[in-house]
């Protein structure tokens, strides 16, 4: 975590410094939940690959380090980015470890003494995030999720196909009030957190 967050150590966290810490903790945890869900890690048992922290544990640790002054950030966006990058990097590290790390329980069973992994006793064999396909995977899962919901589909197409990203721009393009876009954003996030963006039946 510190690797990313620590980059701008000299910067003062103005907006965060003014925020009530209870609010900051709750928002950080909500963002950690969202990040994990983006990678398909959702539900009460979801943990970060490799280190086994839940979104809650992870957010508390980050918050604690922030309070100690060990990490200094300027915005929630920066926290969000750092959490996501940490998930990606931990996953990559774990993938690397799984192929190259020689744990103490390796067996030497051939003439050259080359190690062979004892997979059954390997520390962490949870499914890894496919970090080479994150963007594509997220796009595909979002599309599948909204296929039966015309309003969400329209919104997702505006983002993925037209490349629009600001709610006001999307509202203009779709000819709907911007509040309606925020409603759709919330609804899409509910699908993400609750079901990891599995395709859902049309709710309206």
């Amino acid at each position: 975590m510190g690797r990313y967050i620590g980059r701008d150590d000299r910067e003062v966290a103005n907006s965060l410094a003014d925020m009530n810490d209870k609010e900051l903790l709750l928002k950080l945890t909500a963002l950690a939940v969202r990040v994990l869900a983006e990678f398909g890690l959702f539900g009460p048992e979801a943990v970060m690959p490799g280190i086994g922290f839940s979104a809650e544990d992870f957010a508390v640790r980050v918050f604690s380090q922030y309070l100690d002054g060990k990490i200094k950030v300027k915005s929630l966006s920066y926290f969000y980015k750092a959490i996501r990058n940490d998930v990606i990097d931990k996953s990559r590290l774990l993938a690397h470890t799984n192929t190259e790390y020689m744990p103490s329980n390796v067996e030497h069973d051939d003439a050259d003494g080359e190690p062979t992994e004892n997979l059954a006793e390997f520390p962490d064999k949870k499914p890894l995030i496919d970090h080479t396909l994150c963007v594509q995977s997220l796009s595909d899962r979002v599309r599948a999720c909204v296929a039966n919901d015309p309003k969400l589909k329209e919104y997702v197409e505006a983002v993925l196909d037209l490349g629009l990203c600001k709610p006001a721009e999307i509202a203009d393009a779709l000819g709907v009030p911007v509040d309606e876009i925020y409603v759709r954003i919330r609804r899409l996030e509910r699908h993400l957190i609750k079901g990891g963006l599995k395709a859902v039946p049309h709710e309206e």
Partner: protein, 157 residues
């Protein structure tokens, strides 16, 4: 995800689909936590207890508790936590009485109700009441009478 641009692309995509973290309201965050079956109260209580230990460790090492940590302990302090000093106890009692008075002020008496006076029988009791308590009671009584007088005037107008 080998280069920075892919990470940036993922960030942009996420912000566009689910909203920017800067737009995250407290209400929105609470809803997300509820969906994830995380209790905000338990989260805050647990964090508060961890921070208390951390602050204690600083004091044990005879180091100053970082200002940010102090502020967080204040912000996360549960309402049910015992008062740490007489001053805090007085402040909390005063705030409680003020809330009761505010609630009473919310009620509108019918204009036909008889005029009334506050009983002084409790006010003048000497036991278990500090001079500070007496001052608080006097101040609140004065405010209440003033407000009632104003309301009476309004009703007459």
């Amino acid at each position: 995800m080998k280069n920075k641009s892919q990470k940036e692309r993922l960030e942009e995509l996420s912000n566009a689909l689910f909203g920017s973290p800067e737009d995250l309201s407290l209400e929105h965050a609470l809803e997300t936590l509820k969906l994830a079956e995380i209790s905000p109260e338990e989260l805050c209580d647990r964090t508060y207890n961890e921070l208390l230990l951390k602050a204690r460790a600083y004091r044990t090492r005879q180091q100053e508790v970082p200002p940010r940590l102090k502020k967080a302990l204040e912000d996360l302090r549960p309402a049910t936590a015992p008062a740490r000093s007489q001053e805090e106890l007085d402040r909390s009692a005063s705030a409680t009485v003020s809330r009761v008075i505010d609630a009473v002020r919310g009620f509108k008496l019918p204009s036909s109700s008889p005029s009334f006076a506050l009983s002084t029988s409790y006010r003048n009791k000497k036991s278990e009441k500090s001079p500070k308590d007496q001052r608080t009671i006097d101040r609140l009584e004065k405010e209440l009478l003033h407000d009632l007088g104003e309301e009476e005037k309004d009703d007459q107008d």
